[in-house]
Symmetry: C2
Subunit: 331 residues, 2 copies
Amino acid sequence: MASRWTVGVDFGGTNIKLGLVNGQGRVAHRCVLSAKAMSRPSQFVEGIGEAIESLARRAGTRTSHLRGVGVGAPGSVETRRGVVRSLVNVPGWRDVPLRRWLERRLRCRCAVDNDANLCALGEWRFGAGRGARALVGVTLGTGVGGGLVLGGRLYQGAAGAAGEIGHMVIAPRGRRCACGRRGCLEAYVGTAAILAMGARAMRRGAEPLRTLVREAGGRLTPALISEAARRGDAEARTMWAEVGCSLGIGLANVVNLLNPDRIVIGGGVANAWPFFAPALMRTVRREPMDIPAQAVRIVRAQLGDRAGILGAAMLVWDEEGARGERRGAGA
Amino acid sequence: MASRWTVGVDFGGTNIKLGLVNGQGRVAHRCVLSAKAMSRPSQFVEGIGEAIESLARRAGTRTSHLRGVGVGAPGSVETRRGVVRSLVNVPGWRDVPLRRWLERRLRCRCAVDNDANLCALGEWRFGAGRGARALVGVTLGTGVGGGLVLGGRLYQGAAGAAGEIGHMVIAPRGRRCACGRRGCLEAYVGTAAILAMGARAMRRGAEPLRTLVREAGGRLTPALISEAARRGDAEARTMWAEVGCSLGIGLANVVNLLNPDRIVIGGGVANAWPFFAPALMRTVRREPMDIPAQAVRIVRAQLGDRAGILGAAMLVWDEEGARGERRGAGA
């Protein structure tokens, strides 16, 4: 007998978070695994396989009775077949048929998509994106990810690769990006860019920031730059305003193209929201055509690290719906 | 008794083109009106009202028996209510409830949308976009318009304003655009930009172009710059390559965001396709992430000025479908 439980898996750079989700979107049981121990695909399948078995037992069921398992992966996913083409920063993953492997291991429906897509889906259904007709989700972190939920459905594009906001070019001859090209949004608002800008701010004599970094053992982090801004560090504040402005240039283009009614911004770097949001809003309102700029609300994500788990569970539900529709259309 | 005929109206800057379209997308009868004589909304409604009556008579029916009338307008349209918010270059149009006025005049269903949206819809159904799952239509002319057909439906955005590709910023501190901002795509590939670039090319000594312009009575047009390129004018060729490159920068962003499988490029300026397409392709293939760039085919529009008429007719059919679905969902 199929149970009402779905498992959502959020495969992050450091941790893999799993949650057992009920039909109302409540995360009943959770567990966290270290991503390092399972950097190879076979280790990953075995590792999360065991964890999902254990979660199912805690809910008094077994994996073959789950409604399904959804996985958000930090990279490029061919969603139709559930194949992970490549992962950002994990070299061993090339064209891994993760869906098939997991289904064989767990004996239940599995689905795989890009992690930023699933965060957008989670926020749309349960978080800051509720009620939006056209939602753009942005995940700010090491990478800058994006996900589109249009008309109540995750929009995946022709090859499951839609939403690559991080590699939108905002300055044709601009900063070099990790992807090899110039002027990508990620080269201005990704963690590496923020750390480089923070280091420059320190050299220019950002005193609260220098003290904070010294106290933290010398390691600069976006959180410390955020804390310095909170303590009134002018250099740190200027830096976050620049980040907001760059993000605004990219999002203004998205607003003109897609006319969303909501943009939800999450990810670790979104904790600096009070310091980059004003410049972001001003840039978006100034740049696009009037009507789309008036139509959009830009808000901070609400679900924190539950977004990825809930979105992954929703992917399973959405695919059920799509199968049902196909059956209906074929009948 | 309702007939199988739909009327599509393509409201352009110079001409208003009307066509009587059958259920298979054949344009059976056409007529063309001068846009100048009906720059005021009341004149427009009366003028096309008479023309549609005459078209209906030619098909042996009357307007109240038409399946509907679709109108593509060159400006900002609130599609849900069919209100034209404003038109590009026609000052008298402000929040005109065109749908209601036309329905009262013609006693049949009417629908209104942006002209570039409808060209995209027409090409998707009957032209170069057939079979595409995610289509981006680009119309190159005085304005640079765009339309998105995603999953077989026109995507209109939250406020009916999606697809504004022309005001995507491709260079934050770039050329001044007619809209008042800097660096919009239109400031690089719109007709005004092309004429300015052509004039510069002539000053630099583009001999075939100079001769062509002299023979044409001194008036430079995009068609002449295109003809000069065909005759081997190096300056004209360089100029078109620059246009292709700028268009490619903008479309690379669209490709990264939406992962379309087809981009269809139409409008008058698209006649210079052989001279701008190679640079456009190279730029798109170079700029975006690999997968979306591999997934997209960039092609020239096929329907010419029938695209707008057919797309306007399809708008009527699409709205019938949407009403049917709403009824189905409510039942």
